[in-house]
């Protein structure tokens, strides 16, 4: 397992150019400017990567994803989104870069509870894109069909079950056609059948789904149980004691001697248990 104290971002068998890069970044815990969840993080995410980041609950996974999505500013270090240092970007350029990244929150996906399922998916399209009503409607329909949410389209988001809420969050994150999709503990709520659907759908996205015009999406999944992703992820890392540690590829998962890695591959954390 590689420590990331070196200022050169860690690469693990990626295929494309860098989309997100962290150089010696300290991650703010909960967005607060006085406490670090992770320190000295060096990480390069390239186009087409399928990262799975494991860590115990409270290890800073959510803070890491929020920073990658541009929600939290790094306490120190450099965050590059699509080749540009975010500290040097104007507000408009920063927004434009962030719109290329989708984020699915954990625990029900933080939906807008007053809106219907369709309205949740529609909102970013209506807010940002200069689409006509017809084009917006068609796009929403395509996303709901692909995520198998059409029967619940008119239901209020606050009144559907947790597993479907998580799917709606995925559908909403896909609305703007992101190039990078960050998922925070996506299997924290769903049961076995739902988990299978998630794995299959994410595999389709990684391979190039028609929703994204066949363009393969870059995936980063944070979770506290690596097992569902062991045969699907391409690159793996763990968070331990405020450090981001690269594991390597699939083959490196089982041959490492890191106790945390064995724990994350062996443990079965409770369904719906919040991560960190």
């Amino acid at each position: 397992m590689k420590d990331t104290s070196s200022p050169h971002p860690t690469r693990v068998a990626g295929v494309g150019g860098p989309v997100i890069e962290l150089v010696n970044v300290s991650i703010a815990a909960g967005g607060r400017q006085h406490a670090a969840a992770l320190e000295g993080t060096n990480w390069r995410i390239s186009a087409g990567d399928y990262w799975v980041v494991g860590g115990l609950p409270g290890s800073g996974k959510s803070d890491l994803l929020a920073t990658l999505a541009g929600l939290y500013r790094p306490l120190s270090g450099t965050l590059n989104l699509f080749g540009s240092d975010v500290a040097a970007l104007s507000e408009e350029d920063f927004s434009a870069a962030r719109m290329r990244i989708g984020l699915v929150f954990e625990n029900g996906g933080r939906l807008f509870n007053q809106l219907s399922v369709a309205e949740n998916v529609e909102l970013p399209l209506r807010y940002h894109r200069g689409r006509t009503e017809t084009e917006t409607g068609e796009r929403v329909k395509a996303i709901l069909d692909a995520t198998e949410l059409t029967p619940w389209a008119e239901n209020t988001a606050g009144r559907i079950n947790l597993a479907r809420r998580q799917r709606v969050a995925l559908a909403r994150a896909l609305a703007l056609g992101p190039e990078v999709l960050l998922l925070d503990n996506p299997l924290g709520g769903p049961g076995l059948q739902e988990a299978r659907w998630w794995r299959d759908f994410l595999a389709q996205l990684a391979g190039g789904h028609e929703l994204l015009r066949g363009r393969p999406i870059t995936l980063v999944i944070a979770c506290h149980d690596l097992r569902p992703w062991a045969d699907q992820g391409k690159q793996f890392a763990v968070l331990k004691q405020k450090r981001w540690l690269a594991v390597g590829g699939r083959a490196d998962l089982t041959c490492g001697d890191e106790p945390l890695l064995h724990e994350l591959l062996a443990t079965e954390f409770g369904v719906g248990q919040p991560g960190g």
Binding site: L71, M99, R110, L111, F112, L123, P124, R126, Y127, H128
Partner: protein
């Protein structure tokens, strides 16, 4: 020793710490209250400035989302309150204005009825009553809604979708409340003046409707219309900013939402009264 935030250290008293005196504790409490008050005012002013900044920079952004949101707030804080406003305006008209017209007539001062009506109803009672009505029905609900949305992480979800929470959540409420309070005030004034006269008419007050409304027309000046518009819109902005600030500005846990609602209502009332005093001064100067 640390008691109530005051640290007292007396040389040689390490083993027998002495409590601060009652006077010191009171001073400490007063100091804390002042600091808290200054911080609240500072936060409210900063939040208001941010809101105005977003209003100028993003006023025309995303009209397909923004305009329906403003219309929804006008409907919610304005149209839906029409029955309640009608009831309150009738009640005040009958109880206060009708009696006042009757009293003025009894002392032979019926010629001043219009002036008194304009001063009492148009300048003071109407705007304040409409503002308080909207505060209790819509403003308090804003704190609960926004506080819950913040506690449930919906604000971060908006940010993740690159939707400015101030533009999406606060600005429609500010505009909606300003227009709603202005409209409700106009409606409230009309209903109060008419119902007040009706009550006086039933009491056989010798004041013809034509004379009554002529007096009103004479007493009203263009400044009244202009200041009425500014004042009511000001009330709307103040209430929206205070309630949205209490709901959004700091991360709340669900159990803290009720406390924030109470604070918002009290602060809104105080801010509206202060704004009212400012307009009274303007009236007096003019």
């Amino acid at each position: 020793m640390k008691t109530g935030g005051v640290t007292t250290h007396i040389p040689g008293s390490e083993t027998h710490p002495v409590s601060p005196s009652k006077g010191l504790r009171r001073l400490d409490a007063i100091g804390r209250s002042i600091i808290h008050f200054v911080q609240t005012v500072e936060g409210l002013v900063a939040f208001a400035l941010i809101t105005f900044g977003v209003a100028f920079t993003k006023f025309n952004a995303s009209p397909r989302v923004f305009h329906p949101l403003v219309r929804a707030q006008i409907y919610r804080a304005g149209l839906r309150l029409l029955p309640m406003t009608s009831f309150l305006a009738c009640a005040l008209g009958l109880v206060i204005i009708g009696q006042m017209v009757a009293l003025l007539t009894r002392v032979g001062a019926q010629n001043f009825a219009g002036t008194v009506m304009v001063t009492v109803v148009v300048r003071e009672l109407g705007p304040l009553a409409a503002a308080l009505l909207v505060l209790t029905r819509a403003g308090a609900a804003y704190v609960i809604e926004l506080g819950t949305a913040r506690a449930m992480g919906e604000v971060e979800a908006l940010e993740a979708l690159c939707i400015d929470p101030i533009h999406y959540l606060v600005l429609p409420r500010v505009i909606g409340l300003a227009l709603a309070i202005f409209s409700l005030t106009v409606y409230f004034i009309l209903v109060t003046l008419v119902s007040g006269y009706l009550f006086a008419f039933v009491q056989d007050v010798p004041l013809l409707p034509a004379d009554y409304f002529k007096q009103l027309a004479v007493a009203l000046t263009w400044e009244d219309f202009a200041l009425l518009a500014f004042k009511t819109c000001g009330f709307g902005v103040v209430i929206a900013v205070v309630t949205c600030y209490q709901g959004l500005a700091q991360p709340l846990h669900i159990e803290e939402v009720s406390g924030a609602t109470t604070r918002a209502v009290v602060q809104s009332v105080v801010a509206c009264v202060l704004l009212d005093v400012l307009f009274i001064v303007i009236y007096l100067v003019m």
